[in-house]
């Protein structure tokens, strides 16, 4: 690589970072959507009567089964077809968020079931409604149990944000390809830089989750190494 190649790369860093910011925004959006829907789907699967529970299982099956790339294209072009004025960015958040909600729902379902029916019975016995029991007894415990498996889902969806480039979102991967397209000598360093960005984000995210896990650890519950990293 020549000196001028290096120069181009260094000049490209701010562009790449601005692209990465788009990935972070997609990430936050899809995680929020996946979190809320994931909890709802899990609650319906565990607590609701047969028909809604079966529908929730169907939802989960669909969004875990369709390849994410196909899902992105389906939602973006599908909504366009029906003249819904949707931006690629929003389409990416929705497609990846729905997909993530299906995965997250299984994390939450497992955690809710691990908390157990007895906690529910105890809450009902003091006069709580089911919703109160879920809000004040079941979810506070289930969310704690969800953090370790959830960090998996986090790492996975973080990387999936690059798929948004397929429907035209100008994010970091797309910007890297643009730089490389103009100067092939930069292919290796540019993509290495992108890889490094994601490694750093993965580390930061998991570090934050570790902090949360320690912060909300229940005293007396010996979870060895809970929230400890590196």
């Amino acid at each position: 690589m020549s000196l001028s190649d290096w120069n181009t790369l260094v000049q490209g860093v701010p562009t790449l970072l601005s692209g990465l910011w788009v990935n972070v925004q997609i990430l936050l959006g899809l995680i929020a959507l996946g979190f809320v829907l994931g909890i709802l789907i899990a609650l319906v699967q565990v607590y609701s009567p047969k028909v809604p529970a079966a529908l929730a299982v169907g939802y989960e099956w669909f969004f875990r089964g369709v390849p994410e790339m196909v899902l992105l294209l389906l939602i973006y072009f599908g909504l366009r077809q029906f003249h819904v004025p949707i931006t690629p960015f929003i389409a990416a958040v929705i497609a990846l968020g729905l997909r993530s909600s299906a995965y997250q729902s299984q994390i939450f379902r497992g955690a809710i079931q691990a908390v157990g029916e007895r906690q529910m019975q105890a809450a009902l016995s003091i006069g709580m409604t089911r919703l109160q029991a879920i809000r004040y007894v079941i979810l506070p415990q289930a969310l704690r149990l969800s953090i370790p498996p959830w960090s998996n889902e986090f790492s996975s969806v973080l990387k999936d944000t690059t798929l948004a480039s397929a429907i035209g979102v100008i994010e970091v991967f797309r910007k890297a390809r643009f730089i490389v397209g103009r100067n092939y000598a930069l292919a290796l360093p540019a993509f290495m830089l992108v890889a490094l960005f994601f490694l750093v984000l993965t580390y930061l995210g998991n570090w934050l989750l570790g902090v949360l896990e320690r912060r909300y650890r229940i005293p007396g519950f010996e979870m060895r190494g809970a929230g400890e990293r590196f």
């Binding site: 019975q121 709580m128 519950f221």
Partner: protein, 249 residues
Amino acid sequence: MALLVVEDLHKRYGREEVLRGISLELEKGETKVIIGPSGTGKSTLLRCINRLTEPDRGRIWLDGVEVTSPRTNIYRIRSQIGFVFQDFNLFTHLTALDNVALGLIRVKRVPKREARERALRELERVGLADKADAYPAQLSGGQQQRVSIARALAMDPKLILFDEPTSALDPELIGEVLEVMIELAEGGMTMLVVTHEMGFARAVADEIIFMEHGVIVEQGPPEVLFTNPRVPRTAEFLRKITEFYGKSG
């Protein structure tokens, strides 16, 4: 009308009829003890009384209000009936104090400060004021069960149901829980207790109810049941549990 009236209660699980026409009454301030072999429906009976399990047939009244009526607010009824579980079932993510205060805050809508003061008084009552900030996992079984009794008491229940409150405990921890229960009974609490601790029954029970295969075989004051039961099966069962649990037990 008695404080608790249970009339012809039936409950079936699949093909098995677990309760086959149970009727009983509890006057205010009375303590009755239910005994009977495993699988006889004792837990099912208690759970039907506050409708944690829906009975198939039969009626229940608490303080003149029909518990089994579809128009009754069952949450309100449940808040008036304490339930003490065999395995404590404290909320694992809350301190002892918050376990006791939660129902006051969320069900009775008592302001937080007031609720926590009340909760602390209930913990004092069961001798655990010094453990207010401990989490369930940091307490012994006996302490956990006492917290769960405090949790029931905080709601000012009209009646407390106990489902084998000491049978998950190490022998040396049983005494501290029974002590609290005896104090409650003597203090005028209305209690329906499934237990095989006959020492407790002799000390405070107004009546012992012997259940088997979903029906009440015999009921009467402890003196009568121990010395002069009507049904031979009662004598046999009482002999078995006193052998197993010990006389003072």
